[in-house]
Amino acid sequence: MRASSMRYLMKSGFKNLWHNRLMTIASVGTLVACLLIVGVAVLFSLNVDNMVQYVGEQNELVVFMQIGTSDEQLAQMESQLNHIDGLGEVTYVSSDEAMDLIVDRYLDGDAGLLEGMDDDFMPASFRCQIIDPENAAALVTQIEGLDNVDDVQAPTEITDTLVQLRHMINIFGGAIIIALVIVSLVIITNTIRASVFTRRKEINIMKYVGATNTFIRIPFVVEGVLLGLLSAGIAFLIVWGGYNVFLDLVKVESTSLMSSVISQIMPFSELAAPVLGCFLISGIAVGCIGSVFSMRGYLKV
């Protein structure tokens, strides 16, 4: 195909957009709305993933041994813990060390208050890192079943919440995205169908003078892709602005308890590339597929 023909076809695509500007505005509006919802879902899920990972890194469970457990049994326990998959570094904290910790932390170093207590007043314990927070609950159950274990403590609440949240987002997010892709396809198909309809006379003449189907189709594909690109661009700008506003809000209101988690919210600069990429690809793909759909039936004759 000649360059001059290509230019002509591109121009026709732009013209189509302008010709049907009301439809263009309506469909860009709808597409932007769809992309915004997708964008929020993607941003949310990326952030929750990040938080789950962060919390996981902080996560450890503490295994308290029964009082009076012998050194041999403790050594055996340590090797057992070291062999459990899903546990990272295992640190042994003896009774004495635990006692020192209590004195340091709660009694301002004044050991006098505890005088007369047995040496093993505090149980020996193991601090174990958890590699994947999703396994925390299972690990707790498993370790509780071992000999001489008195209690296993793990801060599983935040982890559980986040893990559940991640599951929900993945399931709902996936469903929403599929639904929105269908909605967008219908919208784009309709818009271009309207444009095909206003140009049906030209298409008819093109068929009679021997234009190829590719030639007839290109302006409408151009139109579809432009719709997609335009929507992606606008949605990206809105998400960018909205996200920064959101960041400002949570920074002001964060309480100390959640602040360490909230500080893990990713800055937009880290998210811009995946969000823009996702928008552009879905915009262009939906535009292309929609325009091909809408041409069906008009290419006969």
Binding site: K201, I205, G210
Partner: protein, 230 residues
């Protein structure tokens, strides 16, 4: 040029539109196709333009066997003929020049060729002064000349005209047929013109093919004469 051998054509609902039609139009001929409405003229045109495929028999146009033509070869075939319609089929938001150029544009021809050929054809059709006007500013006869210019622009060896005078005032109708005859004589372009205006056929004379009830009932030369129509 045009060769129909034992052609029958049935619509999907079983209506037989053409029955065992044999027809041959040679290069350089000018032929009228007449017949009352519903006689099968439209079906014949559909076959010739490859809008439809014959149920049986062979249709050969410009060396293309239309029974065997693949869909992707249709554009190439259509470029070998020019079509003129009763309703002109001009694009309203394009000027006369653009309407004619459109036929070259969409068949992937160079800007240079377009700039050269379009004014030539407009000149030939006496439309040079109207080049920048839109179809709605023109009379029916002028619009049909634009559509004729568009059919001629790619220099096809065959022009098929479907009731080209049907929407035009009588005084301009004759002008259109005269132009077709002129094209036929000067360029040797084969012309097949479908019409139901018997008066006009009698006036111009020449080869006349009469189709009734899906059959060719008359195919011969008639002698024209201005006196008969007066």
């Amino acid at each position: 040029m045009i060769d129909l051998i034992d052609v029958s054509f049935q619509y999907g609902n079983g209506t037989e539109a053409l029955h065992n039609v044999n027809l041959r139009v040679n290069q350089g001929e000018f032929a009228f196709v007449v017949g009352s409405s519903g006689a099968g003229k439209t079906s014949l045109l559909k076959l010739l333009l490859r809008e439809a495929v014959a149920t049986s028999g062979q249709v050969i146009v410009n060396g293309f066997n239309l029974n065997k033509l693949k869909n992707r070869q249709i554009p190439k075939f259509r470029r070998s003929l020019g079509v003129v319609f009763q309703d002109f089929r001009l694009i309203p938001d394009m000027t006369v020049y653009e309407n004619v150029a459109f036929a070259m544009r969409v068949t992937d021809q160079s800007n240079k060729a377009i700039r050269q050929n379009v004014p030539e054809v407009l000149e030939m059709m006496n439309l040079s002064s109207k080049a920048k006007q839109h179809p709605y500013e023109l009379s029916g006869g002028e619009q049909q000349r634009v559509s004729l210019a568009r059919a001629l622009i790619n220099h096809p060896p065959l022009i098929i005209a479907d009731e080209p005078t049907g929407n035009i005032d009588p005084e301009f109708s004759y002008e259109i047929v005269e132009m077709l005859e002129q094209i036929n004589k000067q360029a040797g372009t084969t012309i097949l013109m479908v019409t139901h205006e018997h008066e006009m056929v009698k006036f111009f004379g020449g080869r006349t093919i009469n189709i009734e009830e899906g059959r060719v009932v008359f195919d011969d030369y008639i002698i024209g004469g201005a006196n008969e129509s007066e």
